[in-house]
Symmetry: C2
Subunit: 470 residues, 2 copies
């Protein structure tokens, strides 16, 4: 807090002395750890943590420094929920994405290093690697990936990079909602293609209650790719529509990331050669640097925002989760952590599919007099159709909407269908950061509940915690 | 030509009827070929040709359709070498890059398909693949890549995608020359890292005359990575500085691409299991779709330009060549095809390294009265230092520059140090398209000469045409 106050203006593009010092120490410490890891027998997880420190420091500085450059290039937006609506840089998620991509690329030799030594000593003949793998797996922190995983790791990077390019395009050209819905689908193509070529396992374990009908394993084939495609489309879009108030996009992504990391650690602390260990190590390698860049962005995006994240960030974050869930083979667990986003999506459906009129922006309404956020409304210029009227009135009775009815009994306005507006309908107007905090607490509680269910009741559906398909 | 004239204005964003019909037929034919290839026993090279047709059709249409969108987003520029200096869309290379990346990603299963069949039948156990490879290599068009090449193919895509992101950033933010020089270096990191992890061969064959001193093979180690890094920085930048007149960037890239394709075919027509066949197949798979998207861009960018290509295209094109040369292990041949660019770079050095003042743009000067291009000049506000004066006068005597000297004998202006200006000094003012055509003819002749030398005199330096390092 003191650091923030030493800055002359909120959009100042220089780092304060304290900030420079802290970031510099963090970077030096991280570099020292990395150098140490690379020389010694290696500990990729420690290296990944250090790289995440670097990711934080570099994206923090770049977000600050590049502010004026972004403004000049027209990447800027007005914060509508403030008394003084000044313009601030937009699309800062692009900086995070680029730093993230660079970091996870440079990280590659750490989990894959042992292979190199074997490979080069054989002069380009990689068959020798297969024999050395066994010796490599002699401890938790020593654990490295077999070489064959490189292609799937690269496809993950490729997919995240694709969504970043397309996200930047979206932010630049302001693509319409019905088109941009499919953008993450296009970006997921590298992931699906490499999965097809490289791994190709498309059977799933059938839940116990369904086994009498379907058997133990079910070959999904094409449907499995459709499922992965759907996950890749859902995660980025669902973060993109739970948005509109300062800090909510980054914060919800950070909550999901932290919950996934906790879930990963649960597997790593299990007795060692658990079949899913590799998947969860992979997940950590992807998530730790993500947390690094996201924290840096969060610092600048939390109320009152000094930068906006842009659609780029929402897509980028959602795709990191989708990739981790798909390649880590825990997409069902992932969806448990997306429950608030799923609810928001279902609740939004009437507007997304145009049953109810959908304005360009549905963010809560800022009341400049009280300085509080209130539910935003869609005005009905013509009375809605009878069936829609009935539906809206039922939702109103169920406290799932607030409608205003004139003396004739016709609906003149209804609150917009978003979780944020519903929260304000339920608990009354509140300040922007208060609203964000409450939503995040709700999300965290539901997330922990999801993980608890996952690890305690999954055995009712499947006879063991994980099948060794990897 | 008739097609162009039917358009109402040069920036019209609709396809004419003839164009729609042609592109549609091309797309349908391509799709039919691809469907056929995928069902049958397969012919990746034929599929690659068909994909290139698709690449042409889709980038052609998108370049046309997206014109107004790009203009609205501020991606536009003025054509300075015309009487009517109207604004046209800029950075259209980004469209080519995105289409290209999508196409070569979707193409992956074709060269790698046989592996999948083996892999999935084994239920995720990929060891069985190793045994089937031998059976797969039973004919030229049947030839497919071993699975282990997937990582290096993916790293190629990743690198081209990185340069595209950074190129778009450059076009958006107009980065200064001394910074942007290193942008391709950053983009080459995925390539170098995966080379390090995946292949790691860093010894080179020593030319015969040097063997008494160095031995037959020389282990370069770190220096080899520096060499690849230098190639990756040089190729994109050298295309980016041989620029400034309508169509020159795309045309020179097309000439290089066609020469490389001819070189690749030379290897494919050799008796079959030539050790370098794989490398040159890989090269073709990368280059054919590149030619597809570039031809579409060329159509719109040739004199008089209706779109500009942007730095994005120059970087993208140069990086495709660098990747092909590095992963195909024919970087020396590649450099033979870059001789005009190398000469332009050396000739430009005095201005690039600020021995001589360097204006923001050094493109030839357009004389609106004659409608011809003339050499552009840098004016010397103060007389140059004696040593520089001497140098400039010597160059003038050698006909490698034109300087204007006032009555005192001091230099008042000198032509800018670019190949295009030098050409105009030598052969006098000419129209923009004439200048471009002559430069391209010169480039083509030098290129064929380079290939001729490569294949006829290489045996004087190396005892066989290629060493089987792959």
């Amino acid at each position: 807090m003191t650091i923030r106050q030493t800055m002359t203006t909120p959009t100042a593009s220089a780092l304060s002395f304290t900030e420079t010092l802290s970031l510099l120490s963090l970077s030096i410490a991280s570099l020292a750890i990395i150098a140490n890891t690379f020389q010694g027998d290696g500990a990729p997880l420690v290296a990944s943590l250090a790289f995440s420190g670097l990711a934080f420091a570099s994206s923090f500085s770049m977000i600050r420094w590049l502010g004026p450059t972004f403004m000049k290039a027209g990447l800027k937006g007005k914060d509508m929920s403030k008394v003084h609506k000044k313009e601030i840089p937009e699309t800062m998620g692009a900086v995070c994405a680029v730093v993230y991509l660079l970091i996870i690329t440079v990280f590659i030799p750490f989990p894959f290093y042992k292979d190199i030594v074997a490979a080069t000593s054989g002069g380009g003949n990689r068959d020798v690697v297969l024999e050395t793998i066994e010796h490599v797996q002699n401890g938790r922190f020593l654990h490295r990936f077999p070489h064959s995983k490189l292609a799937s790791y690269l496809s993950a990077i490729l997919t995240v990079q694709s969504i970043s390019i397309l996200g930047i395009g979206d932010d630049l050209f302001d693509i319409r909602w019905r088109h941009k819905f499919f953008i993450p689908g296009i970006a997921s193509i590298p992931l699906l293609i490499v999965y097809f070529v490289d791994f190709g396992v498309t059977h799933i374990v059938v839940p116990i209650p369904l086994r009498p009908y379907l058997g133990e394993l079910l070959q999904l084939g094409f449907l499995y790719y459709l499922y992965m495609f759907a996950i890749a489309i859902f995660c980025p879009n669902s973060i993109n529509i739970l948005a509109g108030i300062n800090g909510i996009e980054v914060s919800q992504s950070l909550v999901i990331a932290f919950l996934l990391v906790i879930n990963d650690c649960y597997y790593l602390l299990n007795p060692y050669p658990h079949p899913a260990t590799d998947s969860h190590l992979f997940s950590l390698y992807m998530l730790l640097p993500f947390i690094g860049v996201s924290l840096a962005l969060w610092w600048h995006n939390w109320y009152p925002s000094r930068v906006f994240v842009g659609d780029t960030y929402c897509y980028f974050a959602g795709m990191v989760f989708a990739v981790v869930g798909i390649l880590g083979h825990f997409s069902k667990t992932l969806l448990l952590l997306f429950i608030p986003q799923i609810l928001n999506f279902i609740y939004s459906a009437p507007q997304l599919f145009r049953v109810v009129d959908c304005p360009r922006h549905r963010l809560p309404h800022f009341n400049a007099r009280t300085n509080l956020m209130e539910p935003s409304v869609t005005e009905w210029q013509y009375p809605p159709k009878p069936i829609v009227t009935l539906g809206l009135k039922v939702l109103h009775q169920l406290h799932l909407l607030r409608v205003t009815i004139n003396e004739d009994g016709t609906i003149t306005e209804s609150t917009n269908f978003t979780l944020l507006n519903l929260w304000l309908v339920w608990f009354g107007p509140k300040r922007e950061d208060r609203l964000a905090t409450e939503i995040l607490i709700m999300q965290t509680i539901i997330g922990f509940l999801g993980l608890f269910i996952r690890h305690n009741f999954a055995l009712l559906l499947f006879e063991k915690d994980n099948l060794s398909v990897l």
